[in-house]
Symmetry: C2
Subunit: 236 residues, 2 copies
């Protein structure tokens, strides 16, 4: 059975890395001793080793050991034999480019579909959707495709941000950007605010955390979904 | 001689479309009666006709007639024979995709290089750089290439926004995003704040408007350039 936690962000303002979600992760990864970390998104250009060390420190608090995918010679085998997988945030264009370059996009999708528990945050959450087209990231590298893991039947916008009505900035709001996506694409988009996550168990998807999420569908008004909502039917 | 105005934004907060820059445009387009408008970026999914009508209204104030590139059968001929060209803002991924689809990227670059005055705003400014990789836009459509017109020897980040130090949002700041770009690319990036524009005359590029701009170079500290600065040497 598919098991995922898909988090908007790794870190809340004023908190430590993964701190707000560690209690949930203790439960989610129960019985798992080791975690395979996919560091390719490299936020701010941090190295794979540095990023993996940061994750190792966080998971040591719940008694799990961490290895980085970059440490392996046979990446496909590393993914297939992982007890649990975590893809961290950073730049989604970079992450997707690397997953294609190393030919692990398909095996990652298959492995998670067959039941290996998966945690994503930010860019690592973005790729659980059908495409990466509702990322907030800058296109710093040209990926061979925008299609991603397709572990949920819609797209995500992590770090979803409401328009600042006091702002004098004339750049597009997040909502405007997602509406532009729907001029050309019919895939629903769920805007996940920081502190929210999706819990996926098989075909059931529940919105967790204390905040509502904002659902955008082509040709429809945007809609607020309360914390705790069953969002399994979006995109089906 | 190359002649361009490359504006961060079309509109300032509280102002009308192009209002803040119309006095400059009167001077820039002196002697030109007609303008070819490239509406492909379609902000918010507005139609080509609607977008062209909006531009027509603005330019009627300075006595110029406007036609949309989408109205022509022979796009290459339309570009080559234009008295003046304006590419409006919207989504850069869409704009670049359309320019490649209609095979007009090269002829547009050549035409502007040979002296047809060019105005860009936002996405229409982004494409004057070497690549579109420092756009703020969402990848709503997959373009065949990230390379753009290369009319200036660096990249732009229009609508440049300083970090909000009061914000509790954990998404990347604009500066962080541009630094991520420089992990993989050596092209300098000029962050143009709303109300700023570049005036290009031949190989001379001057920062105009009242605000400073922020220059990012690979491996160097970001730098503020005062309004009025000669920025011709960036990227050379």
């Amino acid at each position: 059975m598919k098991k995922l936690i898909i988090a908007s962000t790794s870190t809340l303002h004023g908190g430590n890395y993964l701190e707000y979600i560690l209690p949930e992760l203790t439960h989610f990864f129960e019985g798992k001793k080791s975690l395979l970390f996919i560091p390719y998104a490299r936020p701010g250009g941090i190295s794979h080793d540095e990023y993996t060390a940061k994750v190792r420190e966080a998971f040591s608090q719940i008694g799990m050991s961490v290895s980085g995918l970059h440490e392996y010679g046979n990446l496909i085998e590393a993914i297939k034999s992982a007890e649990a997988i975590f893809t961290g945030g950073g730049n989604t264009f970079l992450l997707v480019s690397q997953l294609y370059k190393f030919k692990v996009m398909d095996v990652l999708a298959e492995t998670v579909k067959s039941g290996t528990p998966y945690l994503g945050s930010s860019a690592g959450s973005n790729i659980t959707g059908l495409t990466m087209q509702t990322t907030n990231d800058m296109p710093i590298i040209y990926p061979p495709d925008f299609r991603t893991l397709g572990l949920i039947p819609f797209n995500l916008n992590p770090h979803y941000l409401d328009a600042d009505l006091q702002s004098k900035h004339m750049g597009e709001t997040r909502e405007t950007r997602i509406k532009e996506f729907h001029q050309f694409n019919s895939i629903p988009v769920l805007g996940l605010r920081e502190g929210s996550w999706l819990e996926v168990k098989g075909e059931t998807i529940i919105l967790k955390g204390d905040l509502s999420a904002r659902l955008f569908r082509q040709g429809k008004e945007a809609e607020e979904l309360a914390a705790g909502s069953d969002v399994s039917l979006i995109g089906r």
